[in-house]
Symmetry: C2
Subunit: 170 residues, 2 copies
């Protein structure tokens, strides 16, 4: 399944605008990479995007794909699946629970929701497959991080993922 050409065109246009706004150059590579993610519904990883783009633009390199994807992420045009790109984290809480994750430092806290169990999943979900677990993931900036006003400017326009290892004040 694919995103409709119209939607893709719309998103590409938005990318052009956003990039222009931010003073970014619209290279072939960036355009093709964006077009690729924007038209996929499969939540591809960098490698998959790379392969697809590479077929059309044989000179792109995998690292450009990475840089571009993180750039798009910083611009707010795409996002990532899962809390953040770092090591696997384990959870020994046996109760049904949900997660609040700080996008700045990676801190993860459990919370419980009385309302969720009552929430009926759309039928569309049942058609996808069996359901083993359902949980909510809330992302935000934790109290602690909000207080240290320094490094507030995140890394927008740095185009390099922010440093790893952030869970310093767990």
């Amino acid at each position: 399944m694919k995103v409709s050409p119209d939607d893709v065109a719309r998103r590409v246009a938005q990318f052009r605008a956003t990039a222009k706004d931010a003073g970014l150059k619209l290279t072939h590579q960036r355009l093709e990479i964006f077009r690729e993610v924007a038209s996929s519904l499969a939540h591809p990883d960098a490698e998959t995007v790379f392969r697809a783009v590479h077929a059309r633009l044989p000179t792109v390199s995998l690292d450009t794909v990475y840089r571009t994807l993180w750039m798009l992420n910083d611009l707010g045009l795409i996002s990532t699946l899962g809390p953040r790109r770092e090591s696997v984290r384990f959870d020994a809480n046996p109760e049904e629970h949900h997660h609040y994750v700080c996008v700045r430092c990676g801190m993860a806290m459990d919370f419980e929701s009385a309302a969720l169990p009552a929430l009926r999943l759309p039928d569309a979900v049942r058609e996808l497959g069996s359901v083993l677990s359902t949980h909510i993931e809330v992302r935000g900036i934790c109290e602690h991080c909000a207080r240290k006003t320094e490094d507030k400017t995140v890394s927008r326009f740095a185009f390099r993922p922010k440093g790893r290892k952030g869970q310093s004040h767990g």
Copy 2:
């Protein structure tokens, strides 16, 4: 913040039972590693668990920690944060949406929920920090995987994480 000693003891007892059931040996290392994750609320990564356990049991190695954590995961005693341990995946869907993720092959599908926006987050969440996004993650076994009845036995008791790269039929 820590899990209460009582709860930890209870969980350790359950681990003993489950391990016995499965015919697994209860080594110092396993016990200490389990005790460590079971008493933490911070969703530690392997390295963090390793450091803590290492302080008490200077001979453990990081790889034993990994093996044990995956074993515990396979036994269903702990779980992981985020969809699965693999490369970062990108999502270009600009609409508010949620994810269904197949735990077997990694396939991820979007779905929409009319009900979620109405769901009130517990006040406890607001105390943790600001809320940037809220989304549901449903895990299950997708239709496609359910049909191929082979390799159904997942890797329970293999104690080595199942092979990477699974999104073959996306």
